[in-house]
């Protein structure tokens, strides 16, 4: 053993973001666009916000608004979640944490594969997900 690191995950990879959303129950329900598209409110009203990766309101929850991920010029995704959905549909900080957890797992799997690692995955009792990379 020789080295520990701690990293805070950032969303930058479109494919891994979509895979992470699938892990959280949105498999087949995610729109991906080359150009950012408008988000809609629960009454069908067009919002000022746009996004490249979108989950439409009917998949988000009751009386929900669209949930979007907008790619910034630095390559990082900005997340658009309405105040209502944070409060009443539980797309809050805890959900964002689980999304980043799932994204991290998918991103690590993808990068490790390119480097020729074998990856094993285990869900731990306290909610952590453990990956072990070996050659």
């Amino acid at each position: 053993m020789s080295h520990y690191s701690e990293v805070v995950i950032e969303l930058t990879d479109e494919g891994c973001l979509v895979a992470a959303l699938s892990r959280l129950g949105f498999k087949g329900k995610v729109e991906v666009h080359r150009e950012a598209q408008p988000l809609y409110g629960y009454q069908g009203d067009v919002r000022a916000q746009k996004a490249h990766v979108i989950i439409r309101q009917q998949h988000v929850g009751r009386a929900a608004n669209d949930l979007g991920f907008e790619r910034q010029t630095d390559g990082k995704y900005r997340v658009w979640v309405s105040d209502y959905d944070q409060k009443y549909n539980k797309y809050n900080d805890a959900w964002m944490g689980r999304l980043k957890q799932a994204y991290g797992v998918e991103k690590t799997r993808a990068e490790a594969r390119k480097k020729g690692y074998r990856v094993s995955e285990k869900k731990l009792d306290d909610g952590r997900i453990q990956l072990v990379l070996r050659r």
Binding site: M1, S2, H3, Y4, S5, E6, V7, V8, I9, E10, D13, A94, M96, G97, R98, L99, K100, Q101, G104, V105, K107, T108, E111, A112, K115, Y117, L124, G127, R128, I129, Q130, L131, V132, L133, R134, R135
Partner: protein
Amino acid sequence: MSAEIVLEFWEDGQVNLEGKGFKGQACFKEMQFLKDALGVETSSTKKQEFYQAEVKRDGKVKAR
């Protein structure tokens, strides 16, 4: 013991990486691609083995 990298992803979006079985700076080199891919490194701790000699392929030992 063969070298391996262990990652633990927390539900708050944080991840801990640990290199096992590496000697010296090989650990840093092997783990860097993951740090680059995942996000921002907030802390890093070298363990005792980091300061151990690195055995080169030709059998010579590089002192640290």
